[in-house]
Point group: C2
Chain length 217, copies 2
């Protein structure tokens, strides 16, 4: 996702340390303390402008949400959104690269991983950067409990085709697949900015839920 450079983003983020957690590594294994309860923790990797994660936090007060976005000029919009929503107590944002997931979360500390409209990285030589590449699946597996799930949606056909093949090759089980999410109109679906834009053009939104297998890895 591209965003115009926002010179004020850094100071805005620094002024909201209760929303954007600084040095999140210090909370590894202690996120329940940060939230002040033992509710499940669901994370979104590549949270963008935060519409999904904020909407989820508002819709599901008994789940704690953490949105992770590496681009400061993008996450700043998510911070503004969280601010406008009155800083939901069950929402935090992290301005870090997803390669650091295992430094931030202990094994089994995360209950679910969401990926929404991730960068497709269409060139084969960039496949390693796709958030459904083995390298990332391995990271998710090591912070999720056995049989933990990844929920992924996208409008990008090539990325979705790749992801179907790759998550199953990795050994994950497809728990659910929809090749036209909006035709199914699930009530629980919280749309991202991107999703609303694309689905209004009649483009199908693809979605999968995949679970790691409990094979004692």
């Amino acid at each position: 996702m591209r965003a115009r450079h926002k010179p004020w983003a850094e100071s805005y983020i620094n002024e909201h340390p209760d929303v954007v957690i600084q040095e999140p590594e210090r909370l590894k294994g202690r996120w329940a303390e940060e939230f002040g309860n033992g509710h499940p923790i669901h994370i979104e990797v590549g949270t963008g402008k935060g519409r999904f994660i904020t909407g989820m936090a508002e819709a599901n007060p008994d789940i704690n949400y953490i949105g992770i976005e590496m681009f400061r000029d993008i996450i700043v919009t998510a911070v503004q959104r969280a601010d406008e929503a009155g800083k939901p107590a069950n929402l935090r944002l992290l301005n870090v690269n997803a390669e650091r997931l295992e430094d931030i979360f202990a094994s089994g500390e995360v209950g679910r991983v969401y990926l929404n409209f991730s960068d497709p990285w269409p060139k084969v030589r960039h496949a390693k950067r796709r958030l459904t590449h083995d390298n990332f699946l391995g990271r998710y597996e090591r912070i999720l409990p056995p049989e933990g799930e990844v929920h992924f949606k996208t409008d990008n056909r090539g990325l979705f085709e790749y992801s179907l093949m790759n998550v199953t090759d990795y050994g994950m089980r497809l728990v659910d697949v929809s090749l036209d999410l909006h035709a199914d109109k699930p009530e629980w679906n919280i749309m991202t900015e991107y999703e609303e834009k694309f689905s209004s053009k009649g483009q199908p939104i693809y979605r999968l839920e995949a679970a790691f297998r409990n094979e004692g890895k």
Copy 2:
């Protein structure tokens, strides 16, 4: 697939024993003799009116094709088509139920299984009749060689979603997936009657190639 009752179908089929093999069980393990060569044998389960299998036979003379269709009033059109195509030497048709596959083919005798626009059987209580149900996957596995492949295409979203989940649950590997086959315009694609009709309406055609795993089953 529904067809008008054709009272002349039985006699027409009986007059073409070189195209529609009678009592195919007698050729189990001896299909190479029937074709007079050792070329690979690819079968289509639910061959309908035969456009795909006849087109494949004409396009690939070094592969032997067998189209299987249980409905007499439908396969008769495939027989007419094969007749008009000059009875390709590498094409045979069988008017049998796919539940009999193992009575007709020896283990490893079939090189590939094609499924095209199979009946979706949308009701859950009819799931066992879907050609990508475990019961049928087991039959294919037992007549294919290790790592043998099933190639499946359909316009039916529900059936394709089910099939993606079920073939991978069964333990098959997704070798290829396309969620809009005609957008990819592969030169090798031979369209069925049904496919041409639906794709001309702009409806996506879904396709997968899945391979059994060689795990000494």
